[in-house]
Point group: C2
Chain length 440, copies 2
């Protein structure tokens, strides 16, 4: 595993550390606490979300330490006092983290991540946890709608240039988890072992004296299985030139502009007439899930998706929050807590969750138990996994292995959703979230 998150501890909000300071002062910093990350609602009209980022998050938490560099900054800028600096110098998360597996579907109020530790330890992880989960879950949730719309045709992630350069790596990772077959992002290949692909841009054609020269260079260098970009000048003549130079073994042609549906039909007919029945057609050009769905009846072999993927197709953040839901009082007894103020009400108490399934294995409800595990009716599936226990990272969630596991989890999760999960139009969550608040 290539770790790049070598410094994560200052990827956080100033107030996490000033709260820590004040809680150390009052003595409440050591109170055993339970924090929960959840989304109050899904983005407008979405029917489900997909948890993304958990593996990346766990890698980052393992590196959440304060070295001389960070401590020096905090001291010099008087962010916190000496007592707090001493606490941070020795900080290493020693609590436990539970939650939904990466790749799992989630719904409003699904308890996606539970952090159990002292207030001090759980508090200072807040911003980092939310940054990772909110970004990666937004991408995974949007990307899932695209692979769903593609109905088995391969989707390729190619949005790096439309988002922050590090967000791009995370987006590629999230896309692969929900069924994208490859990414253009090389760093994602290096870090997570995901497949990378790519051929050429318009600049490559424009660089050469003629399209023919450019195609010849690419074919000689990359082999006849390459994908030639055929819309720099005139598509029909480009396809003819491509076939003339590459013959029937030409791998694919790419269309990146214009009316993709009409062009796909035209190019397919032309390729077939020239004997290139096996040459595939790749389309790119501002595709989103709706454009992919509209291309379902066109003779297209694969989709390259960029902007709409890395921007969450209209929902660039998942809107998750991280709330203190329970903490011990002076007597050591846990007390459920929740903000009472207007329009942001939360449900206090430690949560557990399972997906209620019919005897036929179809999901019917998200059942959240408050303070207890909900009863499994025999067909249900428990949703909470152990990620860290007493500061020890559990195996299998991080690195390339974590990505593979998340991809499997995703397939299992969507396979049991009611078929309405595939509907792109706005609607209600495909299953309701139900609380069980009695003690078992």
């Amino acid at each position: 595993m290539i770790s790049i998150n070598s410094r994560t501890s200052l990827l956080t909000d100033h107030y996490e550390l000033t709260m820590l300071q004040a809680a150390l002062h009052s003595g409440a910093a050591s109170r055993p606490s339970v924090f929960e990350a959840f989304a109050r609602r899904l983005p407008d009209g979405r029917r489900y979300g997909i948890v993304g980022g958990t593996g990346r998050l766990l890698e980052g938490i393992a590196n959440f330490r304060f070295s001389e560099l960070e401590l020096g900054f905090l001291e010099q800028n008087q962010v916190v006092n000496r007592q707090t600096l001493d606490f941070l110098a020795n900080f290493r998360f020693s609590g436990s983290i539970y939650g939904y597996a990466e790749g799992e579907a989630y719904f409003p109020n699904s308890p996606i991540l539970i952090v159990e530790s002292s207030f001090a330890e759980a508090c200072i992880l807040e911003t980092y946890i939310l940054s990772v989960l909110n970004h990666d879950s937004a991408i995974a949730s949007a990307a899932s709608r695209m692979t769903s719309a593609a109905s088995g045709r391969p989707c390729i992630e190619m949005g790096s240039r439309r988002t922050h350069e590090e967000a791009a790596v995370a987006a590629a990772r999230a896309a692969v988890i929900v069924g994208f077959t490859a990414t253009s992002n090389l760093e994602a290949g290096l870090r997570y072992g995901v497949k990378t692909v790519g051929t050429a841009a318009h600049s490559f054609t424009l660089l050469h004296d003629s399209e023919r020269d450019a195609f010849r260079a690419q074919l000689e260098s990359q082999g006849r299985g390459t994908t030639l970009l055929v819309d720099t000048y005139d598509v029909v003549s480009a396809v003819r030139t491509a076939v003339e130079l590459a013959g029937p073994e030409l791998g694919a042609v790419r269309l990146d502009s214009g009316d993709l549906i009409a062009q796909a039909h035209e190019v397919r007919a032309l390729l077939d007439s020239l004997g290139n029945e096996n040459t595939r057609i790749v389309v790119t050009s501002d595709l989103d899930e709706y454009a992919i769905a509209a291309l379902a009846a066109a003779p297209v072999d694969s989709y390259g998706v960029g902007t709409s993927l890395v921007t969450g197709s209209g929902a660039p953040t998942a809107g998750m929050v991280y709330k203190l839901v329970s903490r011990a009082g002076a007597d050591g007894q846990f007390v459920s807590v929740a903000k009472a103020a207007k329009n942001k009400t939360s449900v206090g108490g430690r949560k557990y969750a399972l997906r209620r399934r019919s005897p036929q294995g179809v999901a019917v409800a998200e059942v959240v138990g408050i303070g207890h595990r909900p009863q499994d009716d025999g067909d249900d599936r428990a949703l909470m996994h152990e990620f860290m226990i007493d500061g020890v990272l559990q195996e299998g969630w991080t690195g390339a292995a974590g990505v593979s596991r998340a991809a499997s989890q995703y397939q299992e999760s969507i396979a049991e959703l009611p078929s309405s999960w595939r509907r792109l139009q706005k609607g209600e969550p495909v299953i309701p979230t139900e609380y069980e608040s009695h003690e078992s």
Copy 2:
């Protein structure tokens, strides 16, 4: 300067390197080339954009090198051949880069960045350049509308938790350039020397046995100048408790939910009646430029902005592209080039730009010269600066100094725009972009 971009060379698309390989094969890789980064249009209805990310980009390009780690990955995964690996092993950008200063306003087709080098060198920077400029310019452009709407009241950036953890640092940096007075993001403070602030969240109140205990702890630890969060339970009783404990020196109270306009009036009246005329009111809670504008008449002292800032307030990416616009042919003469295909037409040729100003110093047009510098009418301002010359980074653009310089540039740039730049409703760009294509 704290550099974190130690590895930037794989933050790129696979096809940049396969294009390089094919161009090395054809020999065209060494052709002198000119690439241009520009936006064909502004996001829907926006009247201007603000260039963000240039300083960060230049830092990253200086670190754009291929070490054993990257080369090993590329070789093992057969991304490129031996000839290309040898080229990359020795790669260090040796060309020249010109462009709009960070913080400058831009318009459709403003030539924001010009890269002059061999095709090989300019080609492989494409993805990285676009990632940085598209992200940071989207944030700077949205954030500018917020400081504009705030009309001088301080705005604080606090959106880290709603975006990728590294994008959050860049967003904080971009916000400060366009007039945000501070950020919650500590890493941005460390890297760029920007001011960080923060106080406490609802969890801090819920942690304690009572709101009174929490306020007392915070006041004792942070001093009376702190900001108390007063909407965990009941705002009116929280304000009374806060004033009772802190007296007239209480710095500020924060409102994070409910009807902010009504509450601001209520809390202002209450504070005044209790003798706390100098206690400020800070509002947060899903603010965007429209909400800020709506609060203009409310007794609010500062705004904390999160989600809408880091997601570009509806336009999370700036939509810039990076196109080959000119390159030398076999005879060494430069030829303007441009893609001819449908709906993505570009204008070929090396660009220069100035902002045409009236004798009163008001901007009237963005003048783009193709192949020559447009004539300065005497009141105009040249827009292109030298960032790198023959591989040498020019001073003053990067690090904390670059952020300060960009913040000054921003103020200069908006000061000369027609007053319509402040309108939040959708409209045309505040000045037109005009091409001058004759040779001078």
